[in-house]
Symmetry: C2
DNA sequence: CTGAAAGCGCTAACAG
DNA sequence: CTGTTAGCGCTTTCAG
């Protein structure tokens, strides 16, 4: 077991106490800045601690204090996806203000791995969990939630349980995208989407369909592809959709990775369809890509906020925060075929 | 203290033992899959654990086992910078195989914050530390390193101590970039760089200078700007450099953020200088940007590997891993003014 | 203001 | 194969 090498000779509080000639408890009080310690004593203890290079052992402290750590777990499908790393950043920033630290892990969109990661974090006694879930069944969290563990779902809403969640206005965002394209005269509009099982995908496709129906467009199935979970898949799917006869004059891509793949597929084409992407991304401005934008860091912050509320003792029913989206026009929607 | 709310009534091993009618230690053995437990007993214990919803308490376990957790700390300047989030991903993947978990934090390029974060992680008794440092003085780590804590520096090398490190071939990468531009006929080559105090920046500028000297180009100071730590700064700096008379015909940007800023500054210009960026980035292919590429995930993996070696007991002198870079030509270097 | 005793939940060491 | 004892480092009673 690589983790448990001999602990080194870290000085303990007992040694600090011995060196400064006070009791264990007095040393503890002094270093924790509690009151009822004479300034003299406090100085002595601090000096001894300094000299020894003492560091309070949070493991022992947490154990004594009821066995909950000041860690919050974050599980996302891929830490290196810019969308999720921004979510993580927002969560980190907000949690930090409350003295909590973030421990994050990537689930690779794999529900078994997600459960393993959750189990590990629970063993570590995280104070709360932030999850972008890849599971369809969340029963494995029931016991924990009953025990009072705050769990907040980010981005994707669980279908089988009600719980705190922070989601995007997928419906509004997608409707705006479709309406925008329709206003510009597009009638054959395609969509390239993420894994079909994801709640985000389903919501976005439902909104897509509804908005098209509102414009009396019903012949869209042939222009829809799903289950693209990376840019390479998306690139292929875009080529496929463009090969349909007659080809769509516009395309909607439902997340940042898919938009990237689409841009690759469209590169060099003389007849480029219009494009609107869900999620903003770096250089979308330079590339002139119209997007449905939102604020990933804010998603992380809101998730953290929900957690802090629960830890502060807010009971009450699950809350659902919906984050607004905004259509940013950069020209790629106008491109007509 | 928000973290230490009443711990809930999590079942303990003692309760599992009681329910299954065995002793504490037997229950422990059974759940840890140790040998010398009869299959019957093991089943009984597992059933009881299941029924109670028991989760081993890693806090107690770590304390007992010498007080080192299976956490590894990662400190980077910004978790949402794609370069660093990829480093984190690589480290996570590799550490996970060894049963270690990653706890990451952003230092905002602030040395005081970096030290605070390190202190917090040490209190948490991380097994090791991976640091993209923002400090110039690393004395605060001496005591820890002497106590046997593995510390690995990523990307930026400490100037004041020798320690395990994973760095890029900044010299080779920058030389290739300059040579490439020179071969294409450029003589007035500018550089827009990161914070001047960073080792990476200094190495890249030194290589820039050396490569230019090798081509008998000495009049480059006027085309160099540093201390850009975000895209907005870089955008301004690029405009500035382009306003010099005569303007440079080519520009080198020394990291992904700066390249982004440069692309914004160049957008819409009729006379665009050539551009070569250090760091590859999403959509560089679509934008046709020539870059000095490398593998951020590999940096994280190598850092993790060094750590695992140290935890396995490898003593010996500090090791320095240098990761290769590669010039990827995509056309932006040819653009002559 | 300070100290002594107890114990958080677990596992290593040593008996049975 | 199983149980008992002790104690990781700290903080919370409860007495001085």
């Amino acid at each position: 077991m690589v983790a448990n090498r001999p602990a080194g000779n870290r000085p303990t509080l007992r040694q600090v106490a011995a060196l400064s000639g006070v009791s264990l408890k007095t040393a503890s009080r002094a270093l924790n800045g509690e009151q009822y310690v004479s300034p003299d004593t406090a100085d002595k203890v601090r000096a001894a601690a300094e000299q020894l290079g003492f560091r309070r052992n949070a493991i022992a402290r947490d154990l004594r204090n009821g066995g909950r750590s000041s860690l919050v777990g974050l599980i996302i499908s891929d830490l290196s996806n810019p969308f999720y790393s921004r979510v993580a950043r927002g969560a980190e920033r907000h949690l930090r203000r409350a003295g909590l630290q973030l421990i994050s892990a990537s689930s690779n969109e794999d529900s078994a791995l997600e459960q393993t990661l959750v189990a590990e974090m629970l063993e570590r006694r995280v104070s709360a969990l932030l999850i972008v879930t890849s599971c369809s069944d969340h029963g494995y969290l029931d016991a924990e939630r009953r025990l009072g563990l705050p769990v907040v779902f980010l981005d994707r809403e669980p279908a089988d349980i009600v719980a705190d969640a922070v989601v995007l206005d997928n419906d509004g965002g997608m409707r705006r995208a479709v309406e925008h394209l329709v206003e510009l005269g597009h009638r054959r509009i395609g969509l390239v989407g993420d894994l079909a099982r994801l709640s985000t995908h389903r919501e976005r496709v439902a909104a897509f369909e509804a908005a098209l129906a509102a414009a009396d467009i019903f012949d869209w199935h042939r222009y829809v592809r799903a289950d693209c979970h990376d840019a390479a898949h998306a690139e292929r799917a875009v080529r496929e959709v463009l090969a349909v006869d007659p080809p769509p004059t516009a395309l909607i891509t439902t997340n940042n990775l898919i938009t990237t793949g689409a841009l690759r597929a469209l590169r060099g084409l003389t007849e480029r369809p219009a494009l609107v992407g869900f999620d903003d991304f770096d250089l979308a401005d330079v590339l002139g890509v119209t997007v449905v934008a939102h604020d990933p860091e804010r998603m992380g912050e809101c998730g953290a906020e929900l957690i802090l509320n629960r830890l502060d003792g807010t009971d009450g029913p699950p809350r659902r925060v919906m984050l607004s989206t905004e259509l940013i026009e950069r020209g790629s929607a106008e491109a007509a075929s």
